[in-house]
Amino acid sequence: MSKPSLVIVDTACANISSVRFAFERLGVSPLVTADAALINSADRVILPGVGTAAAAMRNLQRLELVDTLRQLQQPVLGICLGMQLLTTASAEGNVDCLGIIPTRTERLQAADLPLPHMGWNTVDGRADNPLLAGLPDASYFYFVHSFAVAVSAHTIASCHYGQTFAAMVRSGNFFGAQFHPERSGAAGATILKNFLELTDADTRT
């Protein structure tokens, strides 16, 4: 199988280089762009993001990418804040997000645990999660966040820190990971590889 063309949406956020390098380690050369036509024509799209939901949404509006992103048909992976942007709204800055996945991003209720939730935590995946294929149960991934997506019917993996929250979400061709696969060692690399190898069947179920 030839390697699919991959676009990383240039959200002007900070972790774009790490995401690009992680794919380069897999032998894929992603294009980093905010050009709607290039994003539309890619086989795969990554929506990265660190920072705040309000700032990221402002950037997407300024770049006139909101409608483009909502209408994508190919596999899309939102990473960290990029996953939160897929939801309806975020409590971080009380901002409307892309509304692709009908659930909300709330402040993590970690009781007396330190916040942000920072470090390596285990993830419990649903059996039908194609991005976790080949990984053992309770693999560790690197998290760093204070806001989290509520568990819903769209949750395909969960994580626990003070509360249970969505570690991965999915609706049709849109996927999200709250952790940073690009910084999660071999397990993270497997997720990115699985994303590149998603089939049409995977994205239509």
Binding site: A14, N15, I16, S17, S18, F21, A22, E24, R25, V50, G51, T52, L113, P114, L115, P116, H117, M118, G119, W120, N121, T122, Y140, Y142, V144, H145, S146, H160, Y161, H180, E182, R183, S184, G185, A186, G188, A189
Partner: protein, 257 residues
């Protein structure tokens, strides 16, 4: 469960990894990239690179290695050293650094913490605190410019007050370097870390004093820190990371293996 983090620290001077004892008499350990790669492969949870001369020299670190490291390793890493502006921070993050650790520049201009947090988010702003126990006054004092012994100086801050200040300004994590213990490998400063843990609602990383596997177990069990940072025990192969993690697991400490 969230794993306790083992964090090798690479002190960088003139593009090479060095290590001193109580911040002095630095000896060269080796080149940056092979060490970074070795630690990532050995199971380190995260790496920290401190350019120990940068703040003292009032210049930003030579950054070219940051991108090389970001290309090479697949675990998070923090860069520290003389970062005193939004522009410098932007550059380092764009090169692939995951977090930035600010020490002396934050003491000189505490507003810098707020500015960096507003611009890049809390998750990537770490504050490094060099804390010295003054046995005469029985207080913990914050020091700055510790990378250069000629310029190292006490600040007006007691450690608990500065910790409260950086938390209030939005810092995402604190690395507490206990200077009395640094490089002497007699164990972390449990008493100090216990005290400061109680008033630290953000992740707290212990630094200074690791000499044996037991020291890591003690600091996790007794001071409830989120991570433990160490340099010489890893550089000199006194402790092997996978063996350390096997040992910590036998002590019922959650580690990623």
């Amino acid at each position: 469960m969230l794993a306790k983090r083992i964090i090798p620290c690479l002190d960088v001077r003139n593009g090479e990894v060095v290590k001193g004892v109580q911040f002095r008499n630095h000896e060269i350990i080796g080149a940056i990239e092979p060490l970074a790669e070795r630690y990532a492969a050995a199971g380190a949870d995260e790496l920290v690179f401190y350019d120990i001369t940068a703040s003292a020299d009032a210049r930003v670190i030579d950054k070219s290695w940051v991108e090389r490291v970001a290309r090479l390793i697949d675990i998070p890493f923090t860069v520290a050293g003389g970062i005193s502006s939004i522009e410098q921070a932007q550059q380092l993050l764009a090169m692939g650094a995951d977090k930035l650790s600010i020490n002396s520049p934050a003491l000189q201009n505490p507003d810098l913490i707020n500015q960096l947090v507003d611009e890049f988010g809390q998750q990537c702003i770490v504050i490094g605190i060099d804390s010295f126990f003054d046995s005469e006054s029985q207080t913990y004092q914050v020091y700055q410019f510790t990378g250069d012994e000629q310029r190292t100086q006490k600040t007006r801050w007691q450690t608990a007050d500065w910790l409260a200040e950086v938390v209030a300004r939005g810092a995402g994590e604190v690395v507490l370097n206990c200077m009395n213990q640094d490089g002497v490998r007699k164990g972390y400063d449990i008493a100090q870390l216990q005290t400061l843990r109680r008033s630290c609602p953000i992740p707290l990383i212990a630094s200074g004093g690791a000499g044996a596997k037991e020291h890591f177990a003690e600091v996790f069990q007794q001071a409830a820190v989120d991570g433990a940072l160490a340099a010489s025990v890893f550089h000199k192969n006194i402790i092997e990371i996978s063996e350390l993690k096997d040992y910590l697991a036998t002590q019922e400490i959650v580690v990623r293996r």
